[in-house]
């Protein structure tokens, strides 16, 4: 049985419903990321778990206990905010000790725990500093230590890396994941950054307009997106518009060229439009490239990105981007040249709306 269960959660602000019948179970020790654009409802779900918002319907159960009647200060949930939210009047030690003091812990116990937490985030030497004397990354690590000091049953992270610069973001997300695994704490992480979500999560929930479009491992989300939204939001993806030629055999036409999908097309008839998705790294124009499917197109642009060369190919009315590793022995294609793009039929995914 799941440790944290969200049963048919709904939330409306006035006439606007921002979360629609959301269901999910999160296992103990699991790291789950809610990924989606602004306004998709991900933060609202997090705030409902924390108790800052009351669900309009449904229930939240943690370790078998319904949280509906509990106030935020009764839930034993650690939360890290985007804006750090360290208490400006307290130094690092007192910030981390705050929850323990509120809980009435003994001074020796508090000091020991604070030392342990500051050791965990490697900031023991900054215990006497005030928040304004710390960098953004340091403040967020202190906020993490403060949230963990009270040994919460669930850790909630509300876009904790958004306010940091790119380099710090990468190192801190790795640190967060390492600490989470070390403590085995059930964690819910909200982000709009797909790379962040893909790199540190056990599972990802892709949110779209208050619905969970897909729940799956980073591998599943990236390789087999369930909807057009997931496909376009996670990673770079070519959306190719085609026509069904023969549903039974999975034959479709793209720009007048007939190819076969890996399986029959269900629910569509001959002549219907169909949306297909292809990852940029799935295709190649190199001689001897593997792939049971081929499309001929005209090169419209080539971008040199260092280790990768991105080529844009026009096939019918669609522009297909694909990436190939930079090989100094090969000459990149030039605009106007006709080339054959090869890929495996299994990499061409049918996208539902």
């Amino acid at each position: 049985m799941a440790f944290l269960t969200l049963n048919n959660i709904q939330k409306s602000f006035g006439p606007v419903q921002v979360v629609h019948n959301f269901n999910m179970g999160i296992n103990k020790g699991e790291f789950v990321s809610f990924l989606g654009p602004s306004g998709c409802g991900k933060t609202t779900i997090l705030r409902m778990i924390a108790g800052f918002e009351a669900p309009s319907g449904g229930s939240i159960v943690i370790d078998g206990k319904d949280q509906g009647a509990l106030k935020p200060n009764q839930r034993n949930i650690g939360m890290v905010f985007q804006a750090y939210a360290l208490f400006p009047n307290m130094n690092v030690h007192d910030n981390v000790a705050f929850g323990l003091k509120v809980a009435g812990a003994q001074k020796t116990e508090i000091d020991q725990r604070v030392k342990q937490m500051l050791g965990l985030i490697k900031l023991e030497h900054l215990a006497d500093r005030f928040p304004y004397q710390l960098s953004g990354g340091q403040q967020q690590r202190v906020a993490l230590a403060r949230a963990l000091a009270v040994k919460p049953q669930v850790l909630l992270l509300d876009e904790p890396l958004s306010a940091l610069d790119a380099k710090i973001r990468v190192s801190l997300r790795e640190e967060i994941r390492q600490i989470q695994q070390q403590l085995g704490i059930t964690t819910v992480f909200v982000t709009h950054d797909q790379e962040e979500a893909l790199s540190i999560s056990d599972r990802i929930v892709v949110m779209n307009a208050g619905h969970a479009d897909q729940i799956g491992t980073p591998f599943e989300i990236y390789n087999t997106p369930a909807t057009r939204f997931v496909a376009s939001f996670v990673g770079t993806l070519n959306i190719i518009e085609g026509k069904v030629a023969d549903p039974a055999s999975g034959a479709v036409t793209i720009g007048g060229q007939r190819i076969s999908l890996k399986e029959p097309v269900a629910g569509l008839k001959g002549g219907d439009s169909i949306s297909l998705a292809l990852r940029p790294e799935a295709g190649s124009i190199a001689e001897g490239a593997r792939g049971d499917t081929a499309l001929i197109g005209e090169v419209v642009a080539t971008s040199f990105l260092g280790s990768v060369i991105r080529t844009k190919l026009r096939v019918g009315n669609d522009i297909i981007s694909f990436d190939t590793f930079n090989d100094p022995g090969l000459t990149p294609p030039v605009s106007g040249e006709n080339v054959t793009l090869r890929f495996a039929a299994k990499d061409l995914l049918v996208i539902r709306e």
Partner: protein, 262 residues
């Protein structure tokens, strides 16, 4: 360009002269009590007057109580309005501005009608009741300044997120208010307090009509009956006001040194 700058300096000199010359005159006059030489006789006379000490002490105590109760009223109100009821903020701002547009004499007559000895709440029926009424009236007078100072200070911190952070760590409302919010709006509270102090120390209308032995009526009494002492008292009153303003500056400078880094 030079002519413009000269004009500006002349304007400043005229303005400063308009303010400083009477003050210097008052100071000079207050030192002329002894015939033919400057002395502090007028100040000595003022400080040795038992009524001065009584009224000054009374007003100090009233100022202190006004600040305490004003803080207890204004800080939670400003906090709550910012956190939970942002939509009523214009209403609260309007209410807090009313004491600026309603003359003190109108307010005190209203109080006398509402709280006279034959009313349901006869505050004026006893000394302690009248003292309480005077303190509440001082709170009303200082409300525009106190509320604005505290509201500005709450605007400088992320009240909502700090509250939620404290709540998620198990804190209840009194802990959140007194340990997480109050210390972070202290600069605003202190600024409001010093203004309140200056207002209470010089207030005349309320204290006179409620017949309480405050410093304001004493100033008026001395002014009507003595020659040099009123000037000395005026200088003392200015010194108190300036001290309060200086402390406000000091407190706000102290606060500026502690912004959170991004």
């Amino acid at each position: 360009m030079k002519a413009q700058r000269l004009g500006a300096w002349i304007a400043i000199a005229i303005g400063a002269g308009y303010f400083i010359i009477p003050l210097l005159g008052t100071l000079e006059f207050s030192l002329r009590m002894r015939r033919g030489q400057y002395s502090f006789d007028a100040y000595q006379s003022v400080f040795s007057d038992i009524q001065f000490r009584e009224t000054f002490g009374y007003s100090m105590m009233m100022a202190f109580l006004t600040i305490i109760f004003g803080m207890l009223l204004v800080v939670p109100t400003a906090y709550w309005v910012r956190l939970r009821l942002p939509q009523v903020r214009p209403v609260v701002e309007f209410i807090t501005l009313l004491p600026l547009v309603i003359p003190a004499i109108v307010i005190v007559f209203g109080y006398l009608r509402l709280y006279n000895s034959s009313s349901i709440l006869p505050l004026t029926g006893s000394t302690s009741g009248t003292n309480a009424l005077l303190m509440f009236s001082y709170m009303t007078l200082s409300l525009p300044y106190m509320y604005r100072a505290v509201d500005t200070a709450t605007r400088a911190i992320d009240v909502r997120t700090l509250t939620e952070a404290a709540e998620s760590l198990g804190a209840k409302w009194p802990t959140i208010l007194f340990r997480c919010i109050f210390p972070n709006v202290m600069s605003g509270v202190l600024s409001g307090s010093f203004i309140t102090f200056a207002i209470v120390m010089g207030e005349f209308t309320m204290a006179a009509l409620l017949n309480r032995p405050a410093f304001g009526p004493y100033l008026q009494l001395v002014g009507a009956n003595k020659a040099y002492e009123p000037s000395a008292l005026a200088v003392i009153a200015f010194a108190i006001t300036w001290l309060s303003m200086g402390l406000i500056q000091l407190v706000s400078r102290f606060q500026k040194s502690a912004p959170a880094k991004a």
